[in-house]
């Protein structure tokens, strides 16, 4: 009798532990953490990404929005509005369009050494398109200029 009671308690405890792990922890999670360990779903050139959104925003949203993507491109400028470090990637033909990459705080140190026209690869979550494509929570990797 005693044994079966203990067994029951053990199972109940295990069940609670499993539930906590799978259901309660995700509720407290905060995904504003760097994406360095995450794998990007796809890699695309900045020009192509902007072009795709400019041609068909709805379809591009289905393809890219909400996903972790890697974008390669050249830096147009680095801005520091509202205490955020943001890298804007060029669009080769049109000056007014580009990709806005909002950096994760942990990546800000790296951005000090970046210069306009440098080639980089940015990994971030694509949020959609206004006049530019917007990527949040970005991490960066410097590429060699060819």
């Amino acid at each position: 009798m005693k044994k079966s009671e203990n067994l029951f308690l053990l199972i109940a405890f295990l069940l609670i532990a499993i539930c906590t792990y799978f259901y309660v922890f995700p509720l407290l999670k905060n995904s504003n953490e760097p994406l360095t360990k995450e794998v990007a779903e796809l890699t695309i050139d900045a020009n192509l990404l902007v072009k795709s959104f400019a041609i068909d925003e709805q379809k591009s949203n289905e393809l890219y929005a909400g996903k972790i993507i890697e974008v390669t491109g050249t830096i147009k400028e680095i801005t520091y509005y509202n205490n955020r470090t943001t890298i804007i990637l060029n669009h080769k033909n049109r000056n007014t369009f580009g990709v806005i990459c909002d950096l994760n705080h942990t990546e800000e140190k790296k951005s000090q050494f970046l210069k306009p026209n440098q080639k980089i690869r940015v990994k971030g979550i694509c949020k959609g398109y206004l006049k530019d494509v917007i990527l949040l929570n970005c991490s960066i990797e410097v590429l060699t200029n060819e």
Partner: protein, 181 residues
Amino acid sequence: MNKILLFLFLSFFMADLSSAQNQQIARQGQVSFFSYTSVENIEANNNQVLSIIDYSKSKIAVSMLMRAFVFKKDLMYEHFNESYIESDLYPKANFEGTIIDFDENLASQTKIIKGQLSIHGVTKDIEIKTNIQKNKGNYTLDGEFDVLVKDFKINIPPILASNIAKTIAIKFRFQYQPYEE
């Protein structure tokens, strides 16, 4: 005939050029909102808000992606986008308005902007008190206003009603740059 065409073409071209000259753009405007209740405080920031101001016509337009709001917890982000704002159906919030009695030469002024705010597919007339600064030819706009959750047909389940304020405070700040075409 050809001269008239040329004249028309030129006048169109000039009109286009002059309108672009009178515009300034902010691509990284900031919009934050706050919901304070005794149970929970919710705060979210969007640092990628697009705004264009046409200072010769005193017009302003603002557009933002709802999914670009950053919250402290993932669950807040999920509730906001999936249950309340329904970002898949209404991915953007927009504002279009006119600055009343705007004087483009003043360095600092506080004016009312009258216009329409669209959130969650609902458009509402609104008046916003705004501080307008002009520094080295570039404008900066900032201000605060309140919106009612029920005005925008946002349904909050009764179980969560105590977690979300009935009135949401919204803060904004846009730093404009010349609009180069």
